[in-house]
Symmetry: D2
């Protein structure tokens, strides 16, 4: 029961904070930002800055060029990174690559790691994770997986259609979830520059911070040799779980930083701007929103730290990470929404970053499991009495 | 105490509904839509459709080419119009032009009406309303008005800077609020194609449905002859009130239609899409959101109707329109937000109109007085005991 | 689309308001009030006052001594009555008697009316409605009805256990819902002073305003002759519906009056009490609560009026009365809760009526169908597309 | 950053949990419980049990008979104690005595400790804290203190009226806050059995768990010798702060236990009770409430632990304890309210403990500073930029 950030970690936090403030925030107006994230040129410039600062791919083990942070250290580091919407890209800890690196490190063979993880962790390439499918395929309910992998000699032929494939455009390779003939799910690794893979289009989304956008991808008999299976045959859902809890949690961390940024902007405005004879913030209607922001940020942070600790103890953390996903995504959203409101008309414009954070963040209450699916699964655990052991309290 | 829609109005509603369904919704994918609303070319095509259908400028008196609807009839008509984001533009009842027509009809001289109202009501021109100013000028607190009008012979010279001037780009004329040397506020009419008026830029906003966008406009000694004063000298704030209650209310009506549209899209999806073995809507987590939508739409509509009735009785309706602004804008927003959530990942994309409605609507909790300012003024009336008489109940 | 209260009704409202203010509120400190409502002695005194004022049993037809109000008139009348927690008792329009009178008038034979309705409508007797059963019997789900009625010659023998039987203690007669041998539900009328009926106990409840409290009642082979069946054999559920929508709605009306009372008390306090240099109400944190109260009361009232109008048009109003039940019970509850908060420490004490209203009202989000059951049934209608016709909009 | 409960503390928690389950819960139906808490006879029996178990006055140092727990240990211990509404009384850690012991230990002279603290910590006596005054005296705003202390030789004569004096009836002594002639506040110690002290009445409150109830107390020239001043003359507000943060926090801990109890009762019911063909909890409408409860309990606990840690580091924790007061009191209240709802009709009755917890807990959003006062003071710190240092993050 100790909330002290260890000195070494506090120092690292200070380095990230300074890096974001000095190197990244000045780049936020760079015109090389599209509706589908920063251009590859801009991304590589940002990554170069992070490499020089020795802060790249912090969650990856040193063997592959990272800092090897545990989950609690990530909680501190990623929150700072998220303070700029460009921060996670620069530090090479953005979704889906961050989760993909984690999964590869946990499951891939050494050869696979050399081929795909090493350049990815170096920030030289990008990747994508091909799981979600359009109706009537797999969305919140993974059991509806429709993409198939059919054995053909030593290879598999993958066919199907995916969407919301973040970062597909420009990705060097994909992790693809497909269903074997016996119905079991399996993950495959595949370079993107192959016949059999078509990026139909980038979807038009409210968020703009993800490099490569969210794409519709079609597989038409994509040929994948058996050696490019990720992990064991038929264990796709198990690996999805391995990726899930931590990936869900790192989203919470990054968006916490973004919410914090919005709160700081709104606070500064509430101090400066006057109306009806006093600073905005002295009106309780505004002051209470600031107070609620502060409490929401505090609760999101504590819940993230707690789940990070559970994961660091070796737990799967499914119950806790579900709770934290709901708590953090909803708290962070309330902060973003209140900041828009505090800013008044400006809140819905590009005059400050608040509108951007607001629009970018909305999807987070849906991605990685909508709040409703998590509430449902939390309830099931409660009813079965399973939550106590896992929760460790 | 009668909630029946009169037969004639019900028939008109049916005509608008059919017009929107048959003529406007098919245009929603028209590429001539920019980040700052439909192009003038598209707008004129849409207006031509409405003119042919005999549905143009419904709130304007027949003398100037409209249908002369009272407030309750507008409540029914405008809700239908709002069902498409292009509907209000087509029917020439969008903001700020709709409120400007109302104000001109109430206050302008006959000569001013011929010159500015007639072409505006015909849908031939657009207009803007120049009141809001950047910090430290007039925002929620109109008393902070900084733009000045200095007497110079028979003319006034107007100088100052405005922002959030909806529709400025492409507007034929402006209504400008400025402060006389004695501090009193006055409204002026001025064509936009004059030296002394500069549109600095269109602001980057979350909403995209307003023709001409929201602009920053600068006045540098703009010369306005005394005959172009709108109403009496020094009565600017009084006229702002004349414009305010109805304009606020028509916003509630139009956005109610948009919220209804989102709800219909989400309902159709909840019927069609399956997850975890049954249609989405059969999961209470989703079904309850649909139920809450239905109740929010119902309450917003009843509150709008009530205030429209108060205005039709000749009341100023300041208390009631404040209440309805808060009730409707917050209820409609909850609907939009829930619809995004129900749609899952699609909710934040251009796959359906829901994301567009969501982004377009966020500003409405701020425009025409943020919820906080209305709550404050409702509270003041309660504390002074003024709310009962006005409220008529 | 007319919100005007007709002059005659406005005059009646004024009479009720004066009656409550002059005759009933002065009785609120009368010590003859127990944890299970006013004593019979006090009730009869109150009823005598209402009889003298010509205001008794307003919802009953003049033939049986009432005022024969339609639903909209009841909306106005009952809200005024609810302004004192003793008002509905005095005016003989409290639950469950009010709903029982309605049901008897709609379904009973002339002989049954003479025997049971006439003295009830005169305020001479009280009644109870025996439907709800303890686990595993009928609660929110009426199909779980466990009490049986077995044919025995020309009679039926009723056996089973009921609870939450409001007013059982002291009631002259009961309406009993029981299941025939073929599973169909039937309603029976029975005097309470018979062998075969045992009132086991009055339950300890948060509310204290219901005469006779909420009791556990046991039937052990209670013999009921066939002529005392209420309506047709096997049509019990149909009659429950007849009773349900209006009864649900009158609850909303009465509690609206109570919420209004709490709001008036809190408003007076917020004007009078100073803290941190100004009246409480001038702190936005308190002022906003008053504003939200005002809006909640307004919405509850409008929704009630609307459903009353639907019922007056002859509709069953199941969809609308479900919506109004949720809207009104939750809005009125928020008002009560905010008033407690505004009053500070006093809010949880007997220093004012607020704490009493708060405690008495909590059950209303559960009685007559919990919010969750109504949301579920609203959702089902939406998904089936049934809500539009019924809703008449 | 470590959420592990140390082994020793985990063992202590287990002992408290067993004590509550085995010794206290069986006493919950004991008839010696009044509207103003357990009788003194019952209290002494409960205390004797705790003494035998070696668990008495855990927050007091061993020198005075307690366990000398730090704040984090209290967080764990007090939550377990609160699981029964009788637990804090039995363990001698209920309000206001728990806070009074803390204050005496921090500020009193040795002689004062021997006279007042020792028997209090032994559970032999009770005490009260006389600060709050009726309008227009000190409520949320302590600067409105109206009770006076006038120097008379070596003594002070105290006159004034206090209310909400928890535990006054039956208390052996009081800590009295009064204003000197120069306006400075001072605390005095005084035995209750003196001329000059009158307990006017016990107030009628929603809560029933506090021994001695909440009383109105009058001082008419109560004579207090200078040696019975608590701490330094004129430092009353400073000591109020010393008492405040920890006392506020222990309230959060105890009510967390009570909320947990309600949640466990509701969960058991949701598992057992069927409606509409399946267990209640399998309806998402109910399941989601259980999930939200779980998250609210989790957040309240984490926030309490964090502030306890801040206090253990030696901080005053004003900012953090304000945040935790709001977070915990509102989260715990939502839990209690949802449990009532889940239980259906039973939720508002004495059939289970849920209604009691609900009614007892309502005051907590007001006592120790209403949410509004805390939000206000959190906002002030944010606007001044003071919150970061204190918050230590």
């Amino acid at each position: 029961m100790d909330f002290e950030i260890p000195a070494e970690l506090a120092a690292l936090r200070q380095r990230v904070r300074a890096f974001i403030a000095d190197e990244i925030i000045p780049m936020e107006q760079d015109p090389r930002q599209t509706a589908h994230g920063p251009t590859e040129e801009l991304r590589l410039e940002l990554v170069a800055k992070a490499r020089r600062a020795g802060l790249l791919s912090a969650h990856v083990s040193p063997e592959y060029g990272g800092l090897g942070l545990d989950h609690r250290s990530k909680a501190v580091f990623f929150e700072e990174a998220g303070y700029s919407l460009l921060g996670p890209v620069a530090l090479n800890i953005f979704a889906p690559d961050e989760g993909n690196m984690h999964l590869l490190e946990a499951v891939a063979t050494d050869a696979q790691k050399e081929r795909w993880l090493r350049p990815l962790a170096a920030g030289a390439t990008r990747s994508c994770f091909c799981m979600t499918e359009p109706d009537p395929g797999a969305g919140s309910d993974p059991s509806m997986l429709a993409t198939t992998a059919v054995r053909d000699g030593d290879d598999y032929l993958i066919s199907g259609r995916k969407w919301f494939i973040t970062g597909a455009k420009g990705a060097a390779f994909a992790i693809i979830m497909a269903k074997l003939e016996d119905g079991r799910a399996t993950m495959f690794l595949a370079d993107m520059d192959q016949p059999g893979i078509t990026i139909e289009r980038a979807m038009d989304t409210l968020d703009r911070c993800f490099p490569g956008g969210h794409c519709v991808v079609r597989f038409d008999g994509l040929r994948v040799p058996a050696r490019d299976i990720l992990g064991e045959l038929g264990e796709g859902f198990k690996y999805a779980q391995v990726r899930l809890s931590p990936a869900r949690l790192t989203h919470c961390m990054r968006w916490l930083g973004a919410a914090h940024r919005a709160h700081d902007i709104a606070t500064a405005y509430a101090r400066r701007r006057h109306a009806f004879g006093k600073p905005l913030g002295h009106h309780e209607g505004v002051g209470f929103m600031l107070a609620d922001n502060e409490m929401d940020l505090h609760m999101a942070r504590l819940s993230i730290w707690h789940t990070a600790w559970v994961l660091d103890q070796g737990g799967l953390g499914l119950h806790d990470s579900s709770m934290t996903k709901v708590i953090a995504s909803e708290a962070e959203w309330r902060v973003a929404d209140r900041c828009v409101q505090i800013m008044g008309g400006q809140g819905v414009t590009g005059e400050t970053l608040v509108a951007r954070i607001f629009a970018d963040m909305r999807g987070f209450r849906i991605y990685d499991g909508p709040s409703e699916v998590h509430r449902w699964s939390i309830a099931k655990r409660i009813l079965k009495g399973l939550h106590r052991e896992e929760h460790r309290q």
